[in-house]
């Protein structure tokens, strides 16, 4: 469900926040004093659901941010389990260690071999701590590149699933060269001699996302986000006020619709009403259908043509003009 915190961005958010607080209060009251308030609570629940429905119908960018980060949103392992068969996980970058925030695997899609890479966010706190909340260390990017090389060697398409808050701001990640690791992946992916499909499923957080997101096709789930900086970070830098994140979310144009208009995203994959977590199978189905639609043609495209097109795709992104000074 969408929650109204932090920083309500509309009247609907405030209404929802008030209703949720009231429901919580009644529940506590009913628990503590053993009063039957089920009827009242049900009425309020229905009203809250009504407000949520209104929000889902036309979510603001800040709502979309919350949907993209929703704790129940389908994770990489859910997607992999439903989309692929014969999954064989690969481990380690052969240099330092195996990064649990990044998955690399050999798998079959509709019987055909592919290489799967992706950010591995956890489902609960325990798993998230183990997986560093889907924020890779340099060895994660390097593991992904190693797997992509395997794909390149056998001309197996690479399918990259993006869902990360971003690169990890830690001293060890810096010391082991995360900037270099990201740069290397970006460069190598731009000329990887096999098809690459990128699917942004949740949070596409800056460099940590782009490190596995240079490909022939960029697909994006309807309520995923893709951004150069988190809305909180942007608000803190620009306005010295992280609580203006909702405003920053608006300004950054980080929704799938915005990014399609900017030609960064090629195709939006529809999510069920209210977000992927409300019907994970439907969301996964949209991903499956898109892969089925695009893989055959990409497999058959000659590599040189593929690379020319991939280069042109990123080469043309941006908006420049002649200075008037």
């Amino acid at each position: 469900m969408i929650t109204s915190t932090p920083g309500p961005s509309s009247d609907l958010d405030r209404q929802l926040g008030d209703l949720e607080a009231e429901i919580e209060r009644l529940r506590r009251l009913s628990r503590e004093q053993s009063i039957d308030l089920a009827g009242e609570i049900a009425t309020l629940d229905a009203r809250a659901e009504d407000v949520r429905r209104k929000i889902y119908t036309n979510p603001t960018p800040w709502h979309v941010v919350q949907l993209a980060r929703h704790p129940q949103r389908p994770r990489l392992l859910d997607l992999v389990a439903s989309l692929f068969t014969d999954v064989i996980e690969l481990h380690g970058d052969r240099l330092f260690r195996d990064d649990p925030a990044m998955l690399a695997a050999l798998a079959r899609f509709d019987g055909q071999p592919v290489v799967v890479i992706g950010h591995n966010k956890g489902k609960d706190t325990k798993e998230n701590i183990a997986r560093n909340f889907g924020m890779p260390y340099p060895e994660g990017y390097r593991k992904a590149l190693r797997a992509m090389r395997v794909g390149e060697k056998f001309h197996y398409p690479v399918i990259a699933f993006v869902d990360t808050p971003g690169a990890f701001p830690g001293d060890e990640a810096e010391e082991r060269g995360q900037a270099e690791a990201i740069a290397r992946n970006i460069e190598e992916m731009s000329r990887l001699r096999t098809p690459v499909i990128v699917v942004i499923t949740g949070e596409g957080g800056s460099g940590g996302a782009l490190a596995i997101a240079v490909g022939d096709l960029t697909l994006m789930l309807q309520y995923a986000i893709y951004t150069v900086i988190s809305p909180e970070g942007c608000a803190a830098i620009l306005w010295h006020d992280a609580s203006k994140a909702a405003q920053a979310a608006e300004a950054l144009r980080l929704t799938a619709k915005d990014l399609q208009a900017l030609e960064i995203v090629d195709e939006i994959l529809p999510e069920p009403f209210g977000g992927a977590h409300r019907d994970p199978d439907a969301a996964v189905g949209a991903v499956r259908a898109a892969l089925q639609r695009h893989l055959p043609a990409l497999r058959e495209t000659p590599v040189e043509a593929l690379l020319e097109r991939r280069y042109a795709k990123f080469r043309t992104l941006g908006a420049v003009e002649t200075a008037k000074i």
Partner: protein
Amino acid sequence: MLNWLRRPKYRSLQRREMPAGLWAKCPRCTNLIYRKELERNLKVCPKCAYHHRLPAIERLEITLDEDSFAEFDADLTSADPLKFEGYPQKLNEARQKTGRPEAVITGDGTIEGYRTVIGALDFHFMGGSMGSAVGEKVARAAEQARDRRLPLVIFSASGGARMQEGALSLMQLAKTSAAIGRLHDAGLPYLSVMCDPTTGGVTASFAFLGDVVLAEPGALIGFAGRRVIEQTIRRKLPDDFQTAEFCLKKGLLDMVVPRSEMRSTVARLLSFFGAPKVEAVSVEAPARTETPQVAESRSGGSAAEG
């Protein structure tokens, strides 16, 4: 020394960079230094060797042979694709301050006679941030180098991607890195020099992709900011964290080169990688006995000298 610059406004920029007065205060050792001495010393503090940040134009001036520079895309600048609040004003302020339309200058020229395509980022222009225009100019410079079979040298100084252009600025990491990739595929040398500071998206793209990666002493180099790292790991970081010297020790760089030796070091590397040499070398470049090369007659990437 500025005679290859045809735009008079650069001169006013020079004055602004160094506030009026005969003496300058070093921000690190706080000693008062005779301004002329500081200028003579390439803006390196004679007392503590602090390397002052240089505007892009001065960087090119101390690196290239006199009169050898021809600028590319001099008027190219970022548009405001997101209609981001306050961005046009910020761009205008930066233009006023630097007299430049954008945060990078690119072009071609010679260094001790070696022909090269060159770029310099300007930290004084919106923190050297990379938006569409910076990405476009760097990519075009790499393409020029490839088409004309010249080396590429880029001096970086940047806070990272320009967030006012949203995901489009993130895409400049991909655009520039892809262009550098093609340069590498073509067998042409690319030297990256990181100056103070080089952080964020620029490090996560072209700055770390050089065949040889150099840095100036004391330069701050890293992806994530010190403060956010300290908040994340809840520990204080050592003073030298993310300095050029620290990065060298960690294996992230090839060399740390003082400003006084940067020009000759880059020239030596260009020579090693077989960069074409012009016949008429500048008076500033040391005389050489080798047979001069011209780009057109050169094929492949063989090292003719060094």
